[in-house]
């Protein structure tokens, strides 16, 4: 039977882009269905209202929402629609996905991350599993992503440095903020190894993209120069140029239809003006970001998949991962510094690009000997002025503050300090209390059941987050920061999500095989972060890009 396309990819973010580019370059016909609009550099401005105060790059919650299930004191789990709570779990529904809005802190996983169970043993209440592939199998694709996405950085030897097949990054580090010399000095005095954080940001023009312009507004903003290595700027624009790849924006896939053999027959979606359409392909790739990928497969029942596509062993949507850890800030008061230092700290534009991985693996009695730790990343406090001032609207007694008092508070917060922030990334242990299911009572505007997300966490995550936060606080103290605050919690960051369709060798405990093909479907692959059985202790994007390049090679061999 003839198919409309060789490959149909649902979702155009970091999981979809590599497959699209590789297959299009190989002369295969590729169709991408993207739910959101196709925005480009010409649509991205440093406008806080657009990036962060209105749903411009994400759906209106009245139209599309999630239901978040939290555990109450009595032990019960209760769901609340995000339309009611305002807790938005969308991350960029546009061509290129949320990679348009990332900060681009790029880290590889380390070899031991691929065998967390074997290396560190089990933890009660956690579903830790080794990966079915090793670091060595993914390494060539991490390297490939460096050149294809455009990753800038500098390799530095340290005790937990992962092996590399190339000596250096293809691009030198981006320009650094003057505060880094203070961070480096403090770390040096403490005996900590401060490292330069690789970024998915071009430090010089290349591949038809401009270099970073250092506006000082990066994370949460779309990039207007193309320097940020979004799936769109780095991959899809090139895929389109081959003439073999077509992107249909504003196309919402509602179901993947499967045949009597259990294989994908067609993809059903609503296109422009909400007209229902159907398309077929030899291979279908799903990359809608973890939550929506699980939701789509759960909704895609068929004759051989009565509980959802690939869910004959009730694994679909299970072991969802966020990123555990915490964050904190310290302030540097200009009036306490000499003028030169104060002026340097006021600089807006260059990046901080510093991280600590001394405790990526911990060997400390306080943590019961050897344990998995994580990463500490340093960055400036986000420059968004409205959100900064909004936090001053209420006093410590929760009463509203207004009048001259409010003006004093705002003036002081803006003009008298620079804030240095740290973020801790440690493993979000997979548990039975963190998963995606369908909420049949709450529907989106197309009438489909929305994703219900249970967001339970493992207590161990907080222990590691606290341990690492204390190390970060030492750095801030050594730098003589004022007003040091931090917070470690089990509240999930909605923008760091993976899992739900873990890959493995056993169909009873995983959704995907080691090639990221759904075990009992011949022509369905998943290439977003859903495949990860454990997440490592870094942001996921580089690993998602690398794995998608790996799967692209596998798909290339069969179509």
């Amino acid at each position: 039977m003839s198919k409309d396309y060789d490959v149909c990819i649902i979702g155009s973010g970091a999981g979809g882009g590599p497959v699209a580019l590789e297959l299009a370059k190989a002369g295969k016909s590729v169709l991408i269905l993207e739910k959101g609009p196709w925005l480009t550099e010409k649509d991205f401005y440093k406008d806080e209202l657009a990036c962060c105060r209105h749903s411009v790059y994400t759906p209106q919650l009245a139209d599309e929402k999630h239901v978040i299930e939290e555990q109450y004191r009595d032990g019960s789990w209760q769901g609340e629609s995000t339309e009611e709570s305002g807790w938005d779990f969308w991350n960029g529904n546009v061509v290129g996905g949320s990679s348009n809005f990332m900060s681009g802190f790029f880290y590889r996983l380390k070899p031991k991350d691929f065998r967390l169970l074997s290396e560190f043993g089990s933890i009660k209440g956690a579903n830790i599993a080794d990966w079915p592939i090793s670091y060595d199998e993914l390494e060539p694709y991490y390297t490939k992503a460096e050149t294809e996405i455009g990753i800038s950085g500098q390799v530095e030897q340290h005790q937990h440095q992962e092996p590399r097949s190339t000596k250096a990054f293809p691009y030198p580090p981006t320009t650094e903020h003057p505060i880094v010399k203070h961070i480096d000095k403090a770390c040096d005095q403490l005996g900590f190894t401060s490292l330069k954080t690789p970024r998915a940001i071009l430090s010089k023009p290349d591949m038809g993209r401009q270099s970073c312009e250092y506006s000082g507004y990066c994370g949460s903003y779309g990039c207007s120069t193309g320097a940020k290595g979004s799936s769109r700027a780095a991959l899809l624009d090139r895929a389109i140029k081959t003439g073999n790849c077509k992107i249909v924006a504003n196309a919402k896939v509602v179901k993947i239809e499967s045949d009597n053999k259990g294989n994908v027959a067609s993809v059903k979606y609503f296109g422009e003006n909400n007209i229902e359409k159907s398309v077929s392909a030899k291979v279908v790739v799903v990359a809608c970001q973890a939550i929506e990928t699980s939701r789509l497969l759960l909704a895609s029942t068929g004759p051989k998949h009565p509980n959802g596509l690939g869910n004959n062993h009730n694994q679909l949507g299970k072991n969802l991962l966020f990123s555990a850890g915490g964050s904190g800030t310290g302030e540097f008061t200009y009036s306490k510094l000499d003028k030169l230092t104060a002026d340097q700290l006021k600089t807006r534009g260059p990046f901080v690009n510093r991280n600590l991985q001394d405790w990526y693996f911990i060997n400390d009695k306080k943590m019961g000997g050897t344990a998995k730790g994580g990463t500490i990343d340093f960055l400036l406090r986000h420059p968004n002025p409205i959100s900064k001032a909004m936090r001053l609207k209420r006093g410590d007694d929760d009463k509203l503050v207004w009048g001259k008092e409010l003006k004093r508070k705002i003036k002081s917060a803006f003009a008298s300090t620079q804030g240095l922030r740290f973020e801790v990334f440690n493993d979000w242990l997979p548990t039975d209390n963190c998963f995606v299911s369908l909420d049949n009572k709450v529907k989106d505007k197309w009438g489909s059941a929305v994703a219900k997300i249970r967001i339970g966490y493992h207590e161990h995550d907080l222990k590691v987050g606290e341990y690492l936060s204390q190390k970060a606080i030492k750095v801030l103290q050594q730098m003589n920061a004022d007003n040091i605050r931090y917070n470690v919690s089990g509240s999930p960051p909605a923008n760091l999500v993976a899992g739900g369709c873990r890959f493995g060798n056993d169909i009873r405990t995983s959704v995907l095989d080691k090639d990221c093909k759904v075990h009992d479907v011949d022509n369905l692959y998943i290439t977003d972060g859903s495949f990860m059985p454990t997440g490592g202790s870094v942001p996921y994007t580089w690993t998602i890009y690398a794995n998608s390049f790996r799967v692209a090679d596998i798909i290339k061999k069969r179509v």
Binding site: A50, F270, W402, A415
Partner: protein, 194 residues
């Protein structure tokens, strides 16, 4: 463009209906249209009261801008006719004015704008004691802060007066008239059922 104009128009009519219900005798419809057309601050209710509340919440001082300097009222009016503006919020903004003036009349036999500064403060703090009153004031504060710090293209923060006061360095490029947030990817604002 056509769609966005239509949506603006629809929202605008809804707002008028709401406002008219709260102020049947104010002749608001005409003045509202005029305010939008000319960008001049309306001298009619409820805007007169809202403007006085804004000035109280964010007063002008010798070396720092106040509500009128940052075009707080025009900014609020602009936001209230954007395509994604929440009707319930519009209702709250209008109702709050009625609560406030009822309270002022009840206690001082005056409208809010006729009160002295100390009495204004006391009256607003009393309004804050109810949940709805607190939400109303919080909403007005939010739009004040936005008028102070959002891009001048939205007509608050004229010539970056708020940014300058706070020595805030904005990013670049900055949005242009045709790239206001509600003009980007505007199919987002189809609230139609499939």
């Amino acid at each position: 463009m056509v769609q966005s104009t239509l949506l603006n128009r629809r929202k605008f009519m809804q707002l008028l209906a709401l406002a008219a219900a709260a102020y049947p005798l104010s002749g608001l419809a005409g003045s509202r249209q005029q305010a939008l057309a000319s960008d001049s601050v309306s001298k009619e209710e409820p805007w007169l009261t809202i403007s006085a509340v804004q000035e109280h919440l964010f007063p002008a001082e010798k070396n720092s801008p106040g509500a009128s300097d940052i075009n707080a009222l025009i900014y609020l009016q602009n936001m209230m006719v954007t395509p994604d503006f929440d009707n319930e919020k519009g209702e709250l903004i209008h109702n709050g004015v009625a609560w406030l003036n009822d309270l002022a009349k009840q206690q001082h036999s005056k409208t809010f704008i006729q009160l002295d500064s100390t009495t204004k403060e006391k009256t607003l703090r009393r309004v804050e004691n109810s949940n709805a009153g607190s939400r109303w004031l919080s909403t007005l504060l939010t739009y004040l802060i936005e008028a102070l710090l959002s891009d001048p293209v939205y007509q608050g923060n004229p010539n970056g007066i708020g940014w300058n006061w706070l020595q805030h360095q904005p990013g670049f490029p900055l949005p242009t008239e045709n790239k206001k947030y509600f003009k980007i990817g505007k199919n987002r604002y189809r609230h139609t059922k499939a």
